[in-house]
Every structure is written in C-alpha cells, then in structure tokens.
C-alpha cells in the first residue's frame, strides 16, 4: 500500500484512538475520582467511615481491576448492550474502557489520598469544616501533585487499553498496526505506528510532569 492510500486511513485510526482514549480519560477520570475519594473517606477511622460503603467499592475494584482487558470487554458485553445498544464497534469498546479506567483510577486516587497527613484533615475538622468542604478544599488540593502524576500514569495504561479495544472492533492505531503492519508483514508500518504511540505517551508524560511541578509547593 502506498503512503497516499495509507495516510487517510492512518488519520482515521489516530482519530479513533483519540476518541477512545479521551473518552475513557474524561469519564474514567470523573468516576475514578469519585470512587477513589469514596474509598478513602469511607475507610475505618476516616472522614465518613462506613464499613458497607468501603466494602462495596473495595470489592468491586478488586474484582474488576485484575481482569485482563481483552476478557473484560467480552465479560461486560451484556451491560454494554444495555447502555450503548450494541456489543461491538467503537462505542461498545469505549464504554468498556470507561468502566475499566474508572476502577483503575479509583485505586490510584485512593493511594494518593493516603499520603495526605491525617493531621491536616483533623485541623480542618477542628475549624468546623464539613466533610464535603474538606474533600473539596483540603483532600483534592493537598493531593493534587500526586493526583496529576497518577492521572498521567493512567493515560499510558488507557492508551495501551485502546490498542486492545481497537483490535476488538474499535479501530484506532493499535488495530491499524496489526492489520496493515503485522498481518501484511510490513514492519515499517508496525514500527511507524508504534513510534506515533510512543510520541503521544512522551508528550502526555511531559505535560503531566510540568503540571505537577507547577503544583508542587515545596
């Protein structure tokens, strides 16, 4: 295949990857943050300690996270059908990515919140702040640097996830590398696409590090 034929296909693949990854980052970022904060505050002795809430989120995270993503996509197909209306295609795999990303990020958020000095939270409580206010004005700002780095780390994982999702009907760069590179024995295409993915990952990591450094007040 010539470059002229390949270029528009590659552009499409790039667009599909961006669609999947950004959707998962936004949706998974929001739900992951909520679940992660939920895990942290519901833990025994914490701000809104609740054995039941903690157990539910914790077990869910522990069950979902270790499932290989390629199996996870088929495992939640019935749910995908219910929400998206179909079991294959970019919409369906993007849904699966959003769910997986939420659970993965939940644990990252929780682990970063644990690093906050509990004394700071106690001080805010002593000043009469409500739990919701403490979450907004103490927990998140105090953990912002590790949260940004964790979110950046998440991006690389999601990019990897998108390659697998693409192969199962999502399209995207991963799919492109396999179909037009690997299966055609065209190593230039394979490595070319891999190079694009590496560049994206590098740029995002650079952005994350820069942001995190700006937030760092030490």
């Amino acid at each position: 295949m010539s470059w002229d034929q390949m270029a528009p296909l590659l552009a499409d693949a790039f667009g599909q990857t961006m669609y999947m990854v950004l959707s998962a980052m936004v949706v998974g970022g929001v739900f992951g943050l909520i679940m992660g904060i939920g895990l942290y505050v519901s833990r025994a002795g914490n701000l809104m300690a609740s054995r039941t809430t903690f157990a539910i989120i914790n077990v869910a995270v522990n069950i979902v996270r270790p499932i290989p993503f390629i199996i996870f996509i088929t495992a939640i197909a019935p749910l995908t059908d219910l929400v998206v209306g179909r079991r294959i295609g970019i919409g369906a795999v993007t849904f699966a990515m959003c769910v997986m990303t939420s659970f993965v990020f939940a644990r990252i958020v929780e682990q970063n919140l644990v690093t906050i000095d509990p004394g700071v939270i106690e001080a805010a409580r002593a000043m009469g702040a409500s739990p919701w206010r403490i979450i907004r004005t103490v927990l998140i700002p105090e953990a912002l640097t590790p949260l940004i780095l964790g979110y950046t780390f998440l991006f690389i994982g999601v990019l990897d996830m998108s390659a697998m999702a693409g192969y199962l009907g999502g399209g995207g760069l991963g799919d492109f590398a396999i179909v037009y590179g690997y299966q055609q024995y065209d190593w230039r295409v394979t490595y070319g696409v891999v190079l694009i993915i590496i560049v994206i990952a590098q740029l995002v990591q650079l952005l994350g590090n820069t942001l995190a450094r700006r937030m760092q007040r030490r």
Partner: protein, 414 residues
C-alpha cells in the same frame, strides 16, 4: 502590638452569651471515652474537671495517658462514650455532627506537627477558618493581615508552609486558630516539635493570646517546664484519669501523687539528693543548710541580709532559683562558716521566715529528711499579674494556694 479589634467586628470574648472570666468555661462531668478497636481502651476514664474562663490550663501526662483524647472531647473531634462535656454553656454530648461544627469553629486548636495545608500560602491557611465561617473576602483579607501582624509573621503572608521554620509554622498555626475569634484555644503538644528557644517564643505568644485577648488556653504537654513557665492551673493525667489538679505553684510545692512528683522532679532539680549531700560534706567542712527561696518567704536578698546581720559567711554550694508560674522559686544550699553561735542564730532567723533543712556539718552530720514541709503562713494572696495589658485582658485566677513553699514535700522540719 496591633489592636486586634481595629478592623473587624470581633466581639469581646469575655462578654457575650457565654460564661464570664473565672467561671467554668469547660466542664467535664464523669466523661469517659472508650476506643473499641481490637481491645477496649479507656482513653479517658471518668474525668470530672472544670477549666475556668480566662486561665491557662495545663494537662500533663506521659504519652498514652489520655490527655490528647481529653482535649479532643472539648472540640468534639472525639465524642464522649459516657458522661458530659459542656463548653461555654453548650452541652456537647448528644449533639449531632452538624450541630457540633459551629461549636468547633469557636474553639481554636494548634498541633504538634502544625498541620498546615502545604498547598496553600500562609495567608490562605489563616483565611481558611474564615472561609468556613462564611466571611466576605474584604473582611477576610483585613483579618488575616491583623492576625499575621499579631503573631509577627506579616512578611511571610505569601510564602508556602514548606518554606517556614518550625517556629514560624506554629505562629501560622496560632494565627489560624485565632482567626474566627475563638473563646478557647487548645494547644496539643504545640511546642514538642520545637527547639528550646522557639518553644519559649511560642509559649510567650500563647501567654499573650491569653492576656491580651482573654482567650482561655488549654495546653497539653508532657513537659513540666511548659507547665511551670506558662500555666495557671494544671491537671495531671495517668491511665485516662486525672490524678491531681490544682494551681501550678501548689502542685510544684506539694505534689500529691507519684506521677506528679516525677514530673516536678524533671522541672526542678535543685534539691540535693543524699549522694549530693555526701559529696558536699566531703568538700565543705562548715554547716550545710538548704533553704527555700521564693518571692514572699525568702527572697535571696533577705537571706543575704540575715547572713550579714549575724556576721556569717554563706557560700552557695548547690541549688538554684527558677520561675514557677512566673515567680521565683527554688532552693539554695549554703555552707555557713563563722562563729558557732552566730551560725546558729542565722539558722534560727532563716527558720523564722522560710523553710530550712539543716544538714549539719561534716563532723556532725544530720540525716537528710526526704521531704520538707513548707510554711503555711508566709504565702501571700493576690494577683500575680496586676493590671493586665491590652483590651480583653481578664483577671487571672490566683495562682498560689496557701500551702505553697519552695522546698515542697510533706515532711516536717520546723
């Protein structure tokens, strides 16, 4: 010092709906706090205690004695398992979480590890309680400037806590605790992470907070020196119970409990032990006496006059004078040399106005009584702090009980 009332409509903390100075502002009624995690721990066990408005109250105990839990019952960071806790006329026990929040915002708290928010500037940290209390922006800014000036770190307003020294961080902590005009300030081991010099600065600041703003201060500490230099009254805790409570001067003079005696010993190391006496006798042939020194009974000037009047040479061979509750307190051990009758007369005169332990001479030693009874009739009454400075200052409770005396203890030597 900047007038703390100039730019805000701060209400006089000694007025208002709450109790007035000298009356109980914090009352524990058989308060008990049990922690159930694994085993059952009675962190606070049946404490009944009144802390008076306008005083600096110390709570001392070894770690694990329950003092941190006790102070957290005051601002309801912990809720008593049984018994009652009443703060400024409000019974906290039984109040729901949302009803407790306004109570907490009227009580400032500072911490051993300062607990400043690292993501906020100094000014923003100090403004935090004001945001919680819903102050408008302009009033917040004015109040923060005023507070930073009060604690002496105006130049650090825009710095982040990580750039500050320990002492500066605790000043920020104090400014933050004072922001919302509390009537009570709780200090939880607030100087334990600081070096001795910074400790003194922070304690001086707490005394100013108490005197100039009339705020009741509760100090949790394991250092008797903090109590000695700063507090009016003290409670000694062990195993969740208050084993002794009283005026600092009285507690130093007559510790009534073993734990108290151990704490007092850490702060006053000026009475010769029997080993020391043995060495003193080896070095000094003359008559050795230990006399109590305090501002009323036996000032060092008065001791000197007595020696001069009888023509006796007195050499200080041991001891020292320190301050307890801001008053001179200590003991001096003299070697008295001179005509035997004159020495006897000087000793008698000492006895007439202060406590004295006669250790005899190397040739004719006297046994060292383990403890010495202070005199009853010499201690004066009256306010140790005449004419408090600044507005909002309140009369302080009398620091001194009638039984106080520098040699302390419960023995007799009259």
């Amino acid at each position: 010092m900047p007038a703390m009332t100039s730019t805000t409509d701060r209400t006089d903390p000694t007025a208002g709906p709450g109790v007035s100075a000298g009356e109980p502002i914090i009352r524990f009624g058989d308060a008990t706090k049990v922690f159930r995690s694994g085993g059952e721990v009675r962190a606070v066990d049946g404490v009944t205690l009144d802390i008076l408005a306008g005083e600096i109250f110390g709570v001392i105990g070894y770690s694990g004695a329950g003092k941190s839990t006790l102070v957290r019952l005051i601002n309801a960071l912990e809720i008593a398992t049984s018994g009652t806790v009443e703060v400024d006329g409000t019974v906290l026990t039984g109040l729901g979480e949302s009803r407790l929040r306004p109570v907490r915002s009227r009580i400032g708290m500072i911490f051993q590890q300062f607990n400043l928010m690292s993501s906020r500037t100094v000014a923003s940290n100090v403004a935090y309680p004001l945001r919680v209390a819903g102050w408008p922006r302009e009033k917040r800014a004015a109040r923060v400037a005023e507070l930073l000036e009060f604690v002496g770190i105006s130049d650090k307003a825009r710095a982040y806590p990580a750039r500050l020294s320990g002492g500066q961080k605790q000043r920020v902590g104090i400014a933050r605790a004072l922001a919302a005009n509390p009537r009570i300030l709780l200090a939880d081991e607030s100087t334990s992470a600081l070096d001795p010099e910074t400790t003194q600065e922070v304690l001086a600041l707490l005394r100013r907070v108490n005197r100039e703003l009339g705020i009741t201060v509760v100090i949790i500490t394991h250092e008797m020196d903090v109590v000695r230099t700063t507090c009016d009254r003290v409670a000694v805790m062990e195993h969740g119970k208050v084993v002794e409570v009283g005026d600092v001067y009285r507690v130093f003079a007559e510790p009534g409990h073993d734990v108290t005696r151990r704490f007092v010993a850490t702060a006053l190391r000026d009475r010769p032990s029997s080993d020391v006496v043995a060495r003193l006798r080896a070095r000094h042939a003359g008559r050795i006496v230990t006399v109590g020194v305090d501002e009323a009974a036996g000032s060092s000037a008065r001791l000197t006059r007595t020696l001069r009047a009888h023509g006796v040479d007195g050499t200080v061979v041991y001891g020292g004078i320190t301050e307890v509750a801001e008053r001179p307190y200590g003991s001096l051990t003299f070697e008295l040399v001179g005509d035997e009758a004159a020495v006897e007369a000087a000793v008698d005169e000492f006895r007439s106005y202060t406590d004295l332990v006669d250790l005899g001479t190397a040739a004719a030693p006297r046994e060292v009584p383990s403890v010495v009874r202070p005199r009853d009739d010499q201690a004066p009454d009256g306010d140790a702090h005449p004419g408090g400075t600044g507005e909002g200052s309140v009369g302080r409770p009398d620091r001194r009980g009638p039984d106080s005396g520098p040699l302390g203890g419960t023995g007799t030597n009259r």
